[in-house]
């Protein structure tokens, strides 16, 4: 290949959890970018690295068991291979899970794209005393096979050499033939022939393409050639009639027959031994009686780790921002600016930047602990332990952690949904998280309950609000499941990897990238949201901010009839508008809106305890903050989902407050 033309594209492909991302980080170091695959909230990562005189773009594909898709991830991988075949496939195999991995290897080898196989986790294999005959594998597959430990970096130079050789002398992979039932062979043959005669121009092997078309529901995506499509449909009907299992399952059978043979040859008859340490640890962590208490304890530690450590850091940042802000605003140069511009700069932009920054410590800590849990292998155990509970909501057990962490702060929790395995779980979970009672909301509740209730009752009110939040999460979960908002649930069949020691490198990198990602994607949206609310509460410029005459005040009065049945006055409505920025500023904005010095006195004169409860319920259930919305938008990449979240939050909040307040009135409270 010619180095002066475009960069060479190498795609990392393997079954889940074989070390693709670890290898990706090894190879690309710091030059990587993430995004979403178009249309789905599946993370897409690509990075650049130099290889001799070439420049290589490495793509980290999601884990897939086969190119015949069951999950959306697999669909992404399949579409990627068919629509934009990479120059080289870098297939990663977990040496301790060879047979399952080889199933995909054999399928990809059939594409005829140049391929290099990296057999990863050799450090583990060595520790378990297993030796692999990789020469036999290379011979059989007809591609270079390199042994590797992505974690330690061992074997990396060999891998680079092999990739370099393949770039220099790209050779079509001659895939080992996998024998299939005669009827299938005939179908492949005929469609392959039709593709050959057609004008379809592809670097993929025609039989490979024929197989993918036979599996697909519609062929139009890859060919406009009606002849090929019609022939494929004809064979699909015929195969459906004559095979008693579906075609991809039959093919999997053939493939794994070959994979089993190959794995056996490579292992030289050694049995697959499981990791002894993992077995012992699972005896404790998944214990019938102790498993759950240990889990609860670890979750407590996790929560403390993220928020117990994060909150003081946030505090420090916020104080620093305030100080810097007041110092800046007292500079003569600033003071000479018109008042509205000063306010725009400090109450608008500065405030927006402060909101963004305040999330950084918890996002970093959140992903630090999450990577530890994920990389250590405990996350798979959590999914196993919690599956029964979460399954009812149509979620898998991992969603439990995301929702739980929402009780600290919704923003990292929503960002954390990317660790979930299916698009369905991701969407559902990120729609549920906004109903969790985050610490910012807690501040409002603590403040208000102290005003309106005695100190003996106040804690019970808070407890009731927590229960309300649980109920809201569960009921909304059922509703979303019923209405199939996130599509169809995917089957839950999950491999349980051995326990592994997380490397500081991968954990550190992860936190760093998530922070960077947050800054580049969610931060602009957050600042825009803050500015919007600033505009509402400061326009027109000739009235006091947030007063009745501002746009926000007017909006509050326009909305008054909507909120009147909830017992919420226009002042509180304006505070709710402020609450869109962040729940932390609701109390402060009430002070500005009421305009007096004695907020407590003013409020307790103005509002009844019933009304305060109704206000709190509304606060609990409506949109948590602009940052959460921004996170939902960047994670889901879907306007529909973001709108559903906004609207469902507002609707559920309104309805619940309405029912609460009106039934309160009925029972003679006021």
């Amino acid at each position: 290949m010619n180095p002066t033309v475009e960069p060479i594209t190498i795609a990392l492909a393997s079954i889940p959890n074989s070390g693709k991302t670890t290898l990706f980080n090894r190879l690309t170091g710091s030059s990587q970018s993430t995004g979403n695959w178009p249309g789905v909230s599946v993370e897409q990562k690509s990075g650049l690295f130099p290889l001799g005189e070439y420049s290589v773009t490495l793509i980290d594909l999601p884990g897939a068991y086969a190119l015949s898709p069951v999950t959306e991830e697999e669909q992404v991988v399949r579409d990627y291979f068919l629509n934009s075949p990479p120059d080289i496939i870098l297939n990663v195999l977990d040496a301790g899970n060879l047979q399952r991995g080889l199933g995909l290897t054999l399928q990809m080898a059939a594409s005829a794209l140049p391929m290099v196989v990296a057999v990863n986790m050799m450090d583990e294999t060595r520790r378990r005393g297993i030796t692999l005959d990789l020469r036999a594998m290379a011979l059989h597959l007809g591609v270079p096979v390199i042994e590797l430990s992505a974690k330690t970096g061992e074997g990396l130079p060999d891998l680079k050499d092999a990739l370099y050789e393949v770039i220099k002398h790209p050779e079509k992979t001659r895939a080992p033939h996998i024998s299939c039932p005669p009827l299938l062979e005939k179908a492949f043959f005929q469609i392959t022939e039709a593709i050959g005669k057609s004008t379809i121009d592809t670097r993929l092997d025609h039989t490979f393409l024929a197989m993918r078309m036979l599996e697909a529901e519609s062929q139009s995506q890859w060919t406009s050639n009606e002849k090929v499509a019609a022939l494929t449909r004809k064979w699909q009907r015929r195969l459906k009639q004559s095979l008693h299992t579906s075609f991809p399952v039959v093919c999997a059978g053939c493939r794994f027959n070959a994979a089993r043979g190959l794995a056996m040859e490579v292992l030289g008859g050694q049995p697959v031994i499981e990791d002894k340490l993992s077995r012992r640890l699972d005896h404790i962590f998944l214990h019938r009686f102790f498993g759950l208490p240990i889990f609860i304890m670890l979750m407590f530690l996790l929560f403390q780790g993220v928020y117990g450590l994060g909150a003081p850091l946030q505090e420090v940042l916020s104080v620093a921002f305030d100080r810097a802000g007041s110092w800046l605003s007292s500079q003569t140069m600033v003071l000479s600016l018109p008042a509205w511009l000063q306010s725009f700069l400090f109450d608008g932009i500065w405030q927006g930047v402060a909101v963004v920054t305040s999330f950084l410590p918890i996002i970093a800590l959140f992903f630090f602990f999450m990577s530890v849990i994920e990389d250590s292998g405990y996350m798979a155990r959590v999914a196993f332990l919690m599956d029964r509970l979460m399954h009812r909501l149509g979620l898998d057990g991992k969603a439990f952690i995301s929702i739980l962490l929402g009780y600290g702060c919704n923003v990292p929790a929503v960002m954390g949904t990317r660790i979930l395995t299916s698009n369905y779980s991701r969407i559902l979970t990120m729609l549920l998280i906004p109903f969790t009672l985050c610490t910012a909301r807690l501040q409002i509740f603590v403040f208000l309950t102290a005003i309106f209730f005695t100190s003996t009752i106040a804690p019970w009110i808070i407890l009731a609000l927590y229960s309300c939040s649980f109920v809201a999460v569960i009921l909304t979960g059922f509703m979303l499941k019923l209405f199939r908002i996130g599509g169809a649930p995917e089957p839950f069949i999950m491999e349980i990897p051995p326990y592994r020691f997380p490397t500081p490198r991968s954990v550190g990198l992860r936190s760093w990238y998530e922070m960077k990602d947050f800054l580049s994607r969610a931060a602009p949206l957050i600042i825009a949201g803050v500015l919007l609310v600033w505009l509402l509460s400061h326009m027109p410029t000739n009235v006091p901010p947030a007063s009745a005459a501002t746009w926000a005040g007017q909006l509050g009065q326009i909305l008054a009839p909507v909120f009147q049945p909830l017992g919420i006055g226009w002042q509180e409505t304006v505070a709710l508008i402020f609450g869109f920025i962040a729940k932390e500023i609701v109390v402060g904005s009430l002070a500005v809106i009421y305009g007096g010095t004695d907020l407590v006195g003013l409020m307790s004169n103005h509002i009844t305890p019933m009304q305060s409860l109704s206000f709190m319920i509304f606060c609990l259930l409506y949109t948590p903050c602009v940052a959460t919305i921004a996170a939902i938008w960047t994670e889901s990449r879907s306007l529909r989902i973001t709108l559903i979240s906004l609207v469902s939050g507002l609707a559920i909040a309104w309805l619940t407050s309405f029912i609460f307040y009106q039934s309160g009135l009925l029972f003679g409270f006021h």
Partner: protein, 164 residues
């Protein structure tokens, strides 16, 4: 005597083993299993049931263990090959070989003293009696086992057809 059957959820106990004959009927699940190399002929061993039930951890002897829901396995048709003696799959009058006696050393010694050890052949002649009565096929003696004891004794189905 081989029996292929749908194993009820209640019989999916830890240490049970079966050989898959067909993968069930839910298309997505079947395809997912197939893509993971879990196909007819695969030997499944149940490692454990989740503390809350519903989900089980399974080994297929080909690599990593995996978790799936009990309904998924119950929908397959399988041939049971081993199970704890307490399992409802243990059939009246069928001969079983003791494969493993779990639990502490004392329990194993006590069982050994009673003649029950790995490789012994036993039969349950009458189901549903408590405590359970296990007959030794060779000596025709019998031993009575409590529920807790029967749980720890893993038996293997003996295939008569292939013997004779």
């Amino acid at each position: 005597m081989t029996r292929t059957q749908h194993i009820p959820v209640s019989a999916l106990l830890a240490h049970s083993e079966c050989i898959i004959h067909s993968l069930g009927s839910d298309d997505k699940t079947v395809q997912r299993l197939a893509q993971m190399g879990i196909l007819p002929g695969t030997h499944l061993q149940i490692i454990r049931v989740a503390p809350l039930g519903g989900t089980i951890e399974v080994n297929d002897g080909q690599g990593q263990n995996f978790a799936l829901r009990q309904q998924e396995v119950a929908a397959m048709s399988c041939e049971p090959v081993a199970m704890p003696l307490i399992s409802e799959l243990v059939a009246e009058g069928q001969t079983y070989m003791i494969r493993d006696i779990r639990g502490g050393k004392t329990f194993q010694l006590r069982m050994a003293a009673a003649g029950l050890q790995e490789g012994s052949l036993i039969q349950i002649r009458k189901a549903g009696v408590k405590p359970m009565q296990a007959h030794f096929v060779d000596t025709n003696k019998q031993i009575s086992l409590g529920e807790g004891e029967a749980k720890k004794i893993i038996v293997e189905v003996i295939n008569h057809e292939s013997n004779s």
